[in-house]
C-alpha cells in the first residue's frame, strides 16, 4: 500500500514537473502572441473643430504663425533622386528644412555628418539641431528620403499641443516591451523631448552610440530606448475617426491593401483625410502627390478652416 501510494506521489510530481516544463516552453511562444495583441500604446488625436473654433480670430492667427516646424531629412548620396524630389516638393512647406547627409555631396547643400551608420547619423542630426535651433522652433520633424509629408496637416495636428511637454509622436509600433515610433512614417519631437534627448545622448550607459548587445538595433528603436530613459514615450497619432495619420506605406500600397481586404469601401477604409505622411514613394510619386494634394481638387467644395497657410514663395508645383 505504502509503496503504491509513494509511487503514485512520485508519478504526480514527475507529471507536474513535466507539464510545467512544457508549459514554460510554450509560454514563451504564447507570451509573444499576447504581447503582439496587447493594446497598450498611447493614442493621441488631432484637435476637434470645436477646440479650435473656441479661440478668437486673433488667437487663431497667433497660433497659425507660432507653430514652427523644423524638418530634418536624413539622406545618403545613394538617395540622390529622392533627395532632389524632397527638395523640390514637400520640404518647401516646412518653416525650415535641412538635409543631413552621411557625407558631403556636390550637387546639393547639406549638413555633413561624416558617418554612414543610421543611428549615429540620427544622434548627430538631433544634437546639431538642438544646438542651433532650440530657440527658433517648437517642433522637430525627422523624415527618411522616401517619406512625403503634408506639413499643414502636421501643424493642424499639433495645434493645441504644448511643445514644452515631452511629445514623441508618429506611427507607433510595439516590439516586445518597447514602444517606438517607426522612422518610415516620420518622427515628431517637441522642443522639450529634444532637450531631454540631447542630454541623454551624452550618457553612454543609457544611450550609447553602439547600441544593442549582440546585434544592432534599428535607429528608430534606439531612439525610443534613449527617450524612455528621460520619461518620453511614443504616442500613435490618429484623426478623429481613429485612423493613423502617419503612414509607413504609400497611398498606392494602402489602396491595394484596402482593395483586397474591404473592396466595398476602398477609399473610405484606406486613409485619413488629414494624413500627414506617406512613405516608400518614388521621386515621381512625390511630384504627383504635390499636384494631388496642393492643387487638384473639385470645384465648389469649400472648408471653413480655422487656420490659414500661404503657399511657399518661388514655387510652381503647389
Amino acid at each position: 500500500m505504502i509503496s503504491e501510494s509513494s509511487s503514485f506521489v512520485k508519478g504526480m510530481v514527475l507529471g507536474g514537473a513535466f507539464c510545467m516544463l512544457v508549459t514554460l516552453l510554450g509560454h514563451i511562444k504564447v507570451g509573444h502572441g499576447t504581447k503582439a495583441r496587447d493594446h497598450e500604446h498611447h493614442h493621441i488625436q488631432a484637435p476637434d473643430k470645436e477646440d479650435v473654433l473656441n479661440l478668437s480670430e486673433g488667437e487663431r492667427m497667433e497660433l497659425s504663425k507660432s507653430i514652427r516646424v523644423y524638418c530634418i531629412i536624413l539622406v545618403k548620396p545613394k538617395d540622390l533622386g529622392h533627395w532632389a524630389a524632397a527638395k523640390e516638393t514637400w520640404s518647401k512647406h516646412c518653416d525650415k528644412a535641412e538635409f543631413y547627409s552621411s557625407e558631403n555631396v556636390k550637387v546639393f547643400d547639406s549638413v555633413a555628418l561624416n558617418t554612414k551608420d543610421m543611428w549615429v547619423m540620427m544622434r548627430k542630426a538631433y544634437k546639431i539641431t538642438y544646438e542651433r535651433y532650440k530657440d527658433e522652433f517648437s517642433w522637430f520633424f525627422l523624415a527618411y528620403p522616401t517619406t512625403f509629408a503634408i506639413v499643414e496637416n502636421l501643424k493642424y495636428f499639433l495645434l493645441r499641443k504644448d511643445p514644452s511637454q515631452p511629445f514623441y509622436i508618429g506611427h507607433a509600433v510595439k516590439s516586445g516591451d518597447l514602444e517606438y515610433v517607426d522612422g518610415e512614417g516620420g518622427i515628431v519631437l517637441s522642443i522639450e523631448s529634444l532637450r531631454r534627448l540631447s542630454s541623454v545622448l551624452e550618457d553612454p550607459n543609457k544611450c550609447p552610440e553602439q547600441g544593442g548587445m549582440i546585434w544592432k538595433l534599428a535607429e528608430d528603436k534606439q531612439l525610443a530606448i534613449c527617450l524612455k530613459y528621460t520619461g518620453v514615450f511614443a504616442e500613435n497619432a490618429e484623426d478623429s475617426e481613429g485612423k493613423d495619420v502617419f503612414n509607413t506605406k504609400s497611398v498606392g500600397a494602402l489602396i491595394k491593401e484596402a482593395m483586397a481586404t474591404h473592396p466595398q469601401q476602398v477609399v473610405d477604409g484606406c486613409c485619413s483625410d488629414m494624413a500627414i505622411t506617406f512613405s516608400g514613394l518614388s521621386p515621381n510619386h512625390m511630384h504627383v502627390m504635390m499636384y494631388g494634394v496642393y492643387r487638384l481638387r473639385p470645384y465648389g467644395h469649400t472648408y471653413s478652416d480655422a487656420l490659414a497657410f500661404l503657399p511657399p514663395e518661388g514655387s510652381d508645383n503647389d
Binding site: 509503496s3 509511487s7 503514485f8 508519478g11 504526480m12 510530481v13 507529471g15 514537473a17 513535466f18 499576447t34 496587447d38 493621441i44 488625436q45 473643430k49 499643414e152 496637416n153 501643424k155 511637454q165 504616442e235 484623426d239 475617426e241 481613429g242 485612423k243 497611398v251 498606392g252 489602396i255 482593395m259 474591404h262 466595398q264 469601401q265 476602398v266 477609399v267 473610405d268 477604409g269 484606406c270 485619413s272 483625410d273 488629414m274 494624413a275 515621381n284 511630384h287 504627383v288 502627390m289 504635390m290 494634394v293 496642393y294 492643387r295 487638384l296 481638387r297 473639385p298 470645384y299 465648389g300 467644395h301 469649400t302 472648408y303 478652416d305 480655422a306 490659414a308 503657399p311 510652381d316
Partner: protein
C-alpha cells in the same frame, strides 16, 4: 506476487503522473487566460492623451455609401457644387464590354460615376445585374465608332430630356464631374459645341481625344444623331474619335477650348504622372504633334480643376478618388483661384492673405 506488485507500482506511477500533469495544466491555463484578459491601459492622468475608441470594422456591408465618411467631412461646405449639380445636368455614358465589367467598369461605378446626374454603361450585350445597356454590336477596337453612334442614339432616344450635356468616357477614364460642371456652366446647352482634349491633325477645327473623354451639348447631340439619319456623316470608321470629330465639323458643331482661365489643359489623355514628370513622354512620341494647343510637361501641364485622366487602372481610380475628394492640406490657400476677383466670399480670403503676408513680414523682421 512481486512482479504483480511492481506492475501495480508502475500503473499507479503512470496514473499519478497523468493526474499531476492534468492538474498542472489546468492551473496554467487559468493563469494564462488571466493574462490575456488584461484590458488596454487607459491613461487617465495623461495630460496629452486620450484613448480613442477601438476602430470598429463595421463597414463591410454592401454598396458604396457616399455618406459613410460624413464624419471626416463635417467641415465641408458643398453648396456651390450642389448648386451646379442642379444647374448643369450631365448624363455620362461609359464605353465598356462584357469582359471588362469586373475588371474596370466596376471601379468606375464605385468612384466617379455616381456624381453624374445620370450614368449608363454601354456594352455590346445587355447585363441586367450590373446594369449595362446592350448595343447589339460586336466587341473590338474596330467596332468603337459603331458602338459610339449607337450609344449616342440610345441616349437620344431614351434620355434626351433628362440632361443638358452628354459625356462619353471609357472604362479607364476618371472624370471629375464637379470641374466639368464648372467648365460647362459658362456655356449654354443650346449651343452647338463639344469639349474634350483637342487634337489638331486631319480635322481643320481639330477633334477630341476619345480616351480623355468628350462632352456634347444638347444641340450637338441632336445634330449628331440627325446626321446619321440623313447620311451627312458616314457609319464606318475604325478610328472613333477622329470619325466623330470629322462629323462634328460637317454638322457645324464647334470644337470648344476646354482650357482653364490660366490656359491649362483640363482633359488629359494620360495619368497625371505622365504629364507632370518632365521627360516622361519621349519627344518622339506622337502626342507632342497631336496637341492643338502647345503641349506642356511639368506642373503647367494640368489645371488644378482638371476634368479627366485616361489609362487609369483600377487602383489608380481609388487613388485619384482619395487625392481629389478626401486628402487635403488643412487651411491651405490655393494659388489658383479662378473666382477671386468676382466672389464677395473671396474678399475675406484676400484679407486673410494680406494678414498672413503682414505676419510673415513680422516674423522675418524679428
Amino acid at each position: 506476487m512481486a512482479s504483480s506488485k511492481s506492475l501495480m507500482n508502475l500503473l499507479t506511477f503512470t496514473f499519478g503522473s497523468a493526474i499531476g500533469f492534468f492538474i498542472c495544466y489546468l492551473l496554467f491555463s487559468i493563469i494564462l487566460e488571466e493574462q490575456v484578459k488584461i484590458q488596454p491601459h487607459v491613461l487617465h492622468n495623461d495630460p496629452h492623451g486620450q484613448h480613442s475608441a477601438d476602430i470598429d470594422n463595421n463597414q463591410l456591408q454592401g454598396q458604396m455609401n457616399f455618406n459613410a465618411d460624413a464624419g471626416q467631412h463635417k467641415d465641408e461646405d458643398k453648396n456651390i457644387a450642389e448648386g451646379l449639380y442642379q444647374k448643369v445636368k450631365i448624363l455620362c455614358w461609359v464605353m465598356t464590354g462584357p469582359q471588362n465589367l469586373e475588371k474596370k467598369a466596376k471601379h468606375v461605378k464605385a468612384t466617379w460615376a455616381q456624381r453624374c446626374n445620370k450614368v449608363l454603361f454601354m456594352s455590346s450585350e445587355e447585363n441586367k445585374d450590373f446594369p449595362t445597356v446592350g448595343l447589339e454590336t460586336k466587341e473590338g477596337r474596330d467596332q468603337l465608332y459603331w458602338k459610339t453612334i449607337k450609344a449616342f442614339q440610345y441616349v437620344y432616344d431614351h434620355y434626351f430630356d433628362d440632361a443638358d450635356w452628354f459625356m462619353k468616357a471609357d472604362d479607364d477614364t476618371y472624370v471629375i464631374l464637379d470641374n466639368l460642371r464648372w467648365l460647362l456652366s459658362k456655356y449654354s446647352p443650346e449651343q452647338p459645341i463639344y469639349f474634350g482634349r483637342r487634337f489638331k491633325p486631319y480635322v481643320k477645327q481639330g477633334y477630341m481625344s476619345g480616351g480623355a473623354g468628350y462632352v456634347l451639348s444638347k444641340e450637338a447631340l441632336k445634330r449628331f444623331v440627325a446626321a446619321f439619319k440623313t447620311n451627312k456623316c458616314s457609319h464606318s470608321s475604325s478610328i472613333e474619335d477622329l470619325a466623330l470629330g470629322k462629323c462634328m465639323e460637317i454638322i457645324n458643331v464647334e470644337a470648344g477650348d476646354s482650357r482653364d482661365t490660366s490656359g491649362r489643359e483640363t482633359f488629359h489623355p494620360f495619368v497625371p504622372e505622365h504629364h507632370l514628370i518632365r521627360g516622361y513622354l519621349p519627344k518622339t512620341f506622337w502626342y507632342w504633334n497631336y496637341n492643338y494647343y502647345p503641349a506642356v510637361e511639368g506642373p503647367g501641364c494640368c489645371s488644378d480643376l482638371a476634368v479627366s485622366f485616361h489609362y487609369v487602372d483600377s487602383m489608380t481610380m481609388y487613388h485619384l478618388e482619395y487625392l481629389i475628394y478626401h486628402l487635403r492640406p488643412y487651411g491651405y490657400l490655393y494659388r489658383y483661384n479662378p473666382d477671386l476677383s468676382k466672389n464677395p466670399e473671396e474678399q475675406s480670403k484676400n484679407e486673410v492673405l494680406e494678414d498672413n503676408q503682414k505676419l510673415k513680414q513680422k516674423i522675418s523682421e524679428r
